[in-house]
């Protein structure tokens, strides 16, 4: 049985026609199911668990990157198969998973090509795409073996699903691309150095692949995981291997 979790923004008239088309295609495939509409402040885990008790085996996220992160940050531990139907703007994760936008995404769902995926874990919740620490005075301890510090403020980006593209200059051909599912998380550290009278400049990034790391700050710093920002003093990040059963497309990037 399939359960579809629709994001709030899909109530807009703009998306009604595409939703209709997708729903018709799902009926054709015989995989139509219950539709639940999500609110921004709702914890998804109890909802999914309730549906699993009622017999649901497939939870399909309908929305964009934010919806995907919102559902999986709590629901990653649930015992079900997850699917994704990307609709609307801000859909970069779908491309990594090899799922096209719009009606074609239901073809991928019907094909049921499943794969177990790694996710990141931090301070009691999961993140799927990226974790971003805004420039702050922090030090980082990797795998409880070595410590990385700098006299300047430091920006930290931890990548899992979403590859981190970074160029030194706009014209630069060299680009850092991180593989999304390589059994490791990659941390990019960029110190923010002061240059003369006018403002600050980002230095060349340090890159550390890791399985466990701790970010410790002297004062609270802002952490943004899957677009959701919180303030923390200490963050412990781990890699949770093979956590999610996910329906993916053939053109996925891993």
């Amino acid at each position: 049985m399939y359960v579809y979790l629709y994001d709030n923004y899909l109530n807009s008239k703009k998306f009604q026609s595409i939703l209709k088309q997708i729903e018709i295609r799902l009926v054709d495939y015989g995989i139509a199911g219950k539709i639940l509409r999500l609110n921004n402040y709702v914890d998804v885990k109890p909802i999914i668990e309730d549906e699993i008790k009622r017999g649901a085996k497939n939870i399909v996220i309908v929305g964009n990157d934010r919806t995907f992160g919102h559902v999986l940050s709590r629901g990653a531990t649930c015992d079900c198969v997850f699917g994704f139907l990307p609709i609307g703007p801000d859909n970069t994760i779908a491309e990594v998973l090899g799922i096209p936008e719009g009606v074609e995404s239901s073809d991928i769902l019907a094909r049921r090509r499943k794969q177990k995926l790694d996710v990141g874990w931090f301070n009691n919740r999961y993140f799927v795409s990226q974790l971003h620490v805004m420039p702050a005075k922090v030090r980082v301890i990797y795998d409880e073996r070595f410590q990385v510090s700098t006299p300047f403020k430091m920006e930290v980006v931890v990548c899992n699903f979403q590859p981190f593209y970074w160029k030194r200059h706009k014209k630069d051909a060299e680009e850092f691309v991180v593989h999304p599912q390589d059994r490791k998380l990659e941390a990019f550290l960029r110190p923010l150095t002061k240059t003369g009278w006018f403002g600050y400049k980002y230095e060349d990034p340090s890159i550390f692949p890791f399985e466990e790391m701790e970010i410790i700050g002297d004062s609270p710093f802002v952490v943004e995981a899957d677009g959701k920002a919180t303030k923390e003093v200490k963050v412990k990040i781990k890699l949770a291997k093979n956590k999610i059963d996910m329906i993916v497309g053939r053109d996925r990037k891993f």
Partner: protein, 158 residues
């Protein structure tokens, strides 16, 4: 019977489509570990991939692959690596499995053990250099051992 034969393959295909479980394609990417220019690393710094050092490392450095120490970078640690190119400063003993290159800007204070060493003019080195291959191929023979070998040859001849 004919109708049954026609129906069964279609059902089989449907079932196959239902449960395609792909092998996790976890491919290893070649992301180097990079220590940036103003970054200090303290402790047992180990990596499975290549390491590029542009900043400062204190403690120990270990990699099975290549280590690159860029000009201006500083390592105050014992180093173990598959191969290494040094253009910065290293204070500590280095054990390199394969190939070590010291460029013109390299400053090394410590003992070196490597299979192959290339030193560019201008590089500075203070310490012992050991190349294990040489010891294994041509062991030094003392006068006493040579005599005993000769006598054993004579005994064998009789």
């Amino acid at each position: 019977m004919i109708f049954k034969r026609q129906n069964t393959p279609v059902e089989e295909v449907d079932e196959a489509v239902e449960e395609v479980y792909e092998d996790a394609g976890h491919s290893e990417d070649n992301v180097d570990t990079v220590v940036g220019p103003s970054v200090n690393v303290e402790g047992d710094f180990a990596s499975e991939g290549n390491i590029v050092v542009k900043g400062t490392v204190t403690g120990s450095v270990h990699t099975s692959k290549n280590l690159l120490v860029e000009p201006g970078a500083r390592i105050i640690a014992n180093v173990k690596a598959g191969s290494a190119t040094i253009a910065g400063e290293v204070r500590g003993n280095m054990k390199i499995k394969d190939y070590l290159e010291l460029t013109a800007t390299a400053r090394v204070v410590g003992d070196i053990e490597a299979k192959t060493i290339a030193m560019e003019a201008g590089s500075l080195l203070c310490g012992k250099v050991m190349m294990p291959g040489l010891e294994a191929n041509e062991p030094r023979r003392s006068g006493r051992s040579r005599k005993s070998e000769d006598s054993s040859m004579e005994m064998g001849g009789e």
